[in-house]
């Protein structure tokens, strides 16, 4: 157990205790969101950049519920469909309060929400040159993952399945190949549906998972937040423990000697 305690998630030289990153969207209320985050044990939360409602300044602010001094805000570019929009969004995010660790997400299709990888690679390169630490949402494509690494991404974040689909990891082989080729933090970003999906991701050797819809839209978000927390810990522990070699045939657990 001592070993697990020192087993931290390191992104852009910063250490985090939890390997579960959670999104803050789709909750019924800000207080529900804040409680789910607390129960999940997450150290990092993704947030979106949007216009302030200037006609109603009494609306509660996210920062009033989730303290950015205690939880790392990871500004994202959700809703951006090209490089210019994404760059504008993250430059603004940095201006709000010095955020340099960001999540880049440039989408290419409004229905399947798959990433537009050409624009994503272009944006990663520019942002990195501007001093951002860019965690990048991408396809589960080893070649694209390699390109992102080459242009300076600080974390590779392939999807498990389309955003919000809850389908779980569709292409374990690709995730394994990406794991093998990179030493960068590898975080499964989208498409998880239940806690066991997170365990599978961690057992494949991923460094973490990012979950939003599966927790926020569960019938009991608080319980699901806790389930994901435990699932990530279980998966990581299982991965570090060195699994047995799978066998087609059985191997009895009790000794055959002394059978009456």
């Amino acid at each position: 157990m001592a070993k697990l305690k020192s087993d931290k998630l390191i992104i852009a030289k910063k250490k985090f205790n939890s390997r579960l990153i959670v999104g803050t969207g789709k909750y019924k209320s800000m207080s529900e969101c804040a409680k789910a985050i607390e129960l999940s044990g997450a150290d990092i939360v993704t947030v979106a950049v949007r216009r302030v409602n200037i006609s109603n300044n009494k609306k509660p602010l996210l920062m009033d519920y989730i303290d950015p001094k205690k939880i790392t805000y990871l500004p994202n570019t959700a809703g951006c469909f090209n490089s210019d929009e994404a760059l504008r969004t993250l430059r603004l995010a940095r201006e709000i309060g010095g955020w340099k660790l960001v999540k880049l997400e440039v989408l290419g299709d409004k229905k399947n929400l798959f990433p537009e990888m050409i624009e994503t690679i272009k944006s990663t390169e520019i942002l990195t040159k501007e001093g951002f630490k860019v965690m990048v949402y991408c396809n589960d494509d080893p070649l694209m993952a390699k390109r992102l690494e080459n242009v300076g991404a600080c974390a590779i974040m392939p999807l498990a399945a389309p955003i919000g689909s809850g389908l779980g990891i569709q292409n374990k082989v690709n995730i394994k190949i990406i794991r093998k080729q990179t030493k960068l933090p590898l975080i499964i970003d989208a498409g998880l549906g239940q806690a066991s999906d997170a365990t599978i991701a961690m057992e494949l050797g991923c460094d973490g998972v990012l979950v939003n819809t599966a927790i926020a839209k569960a019938k009991k978000p608080f319980n699901m937040a806790l389930a994901f927390k435990n699932a990530v810990i279980a998966g990581r522990q299982s991965f570090l423990s060195g699994r047995i070699t799978p066998n087609l045939m059985g191997s009895a657990s009790s000794p055959s000697k002394g059978i009456i």
Binding site: G23, T24, G25, K26, Y27, M30, C33, T46, V47, A48, V49, R50, R51, V52, I54, S55, N57, L61, L62, M63, Y73, P75, N76, A78, R91, L92, A93, R94, E95, I96, G97, I163, G164, A190, L210, N212, T213
Partner: protein, 72 residues
Amino acid sequence: MKKVKKIKIKINGRFIKTEDNIKLSALLKNLKIPIKKVAIELNQEIIDKTILDKINLKKNDKIEIVHFIGGG
């Protein structure tokens, strides 16, 4: 009393009327914007929040004020 000249500017996609040459800092104060929790763009350029009182607004200026909200 001298009549104050009014100008039309656009904030977050909506037109509002305000006095000509008003300082950006004064406008944000009128709108009760929590400066520390937002970022501001004037005509597509990000504004350094330490110089808001040095910027005077003119007709047809476009301002965007953004903050963090829940997202995945």
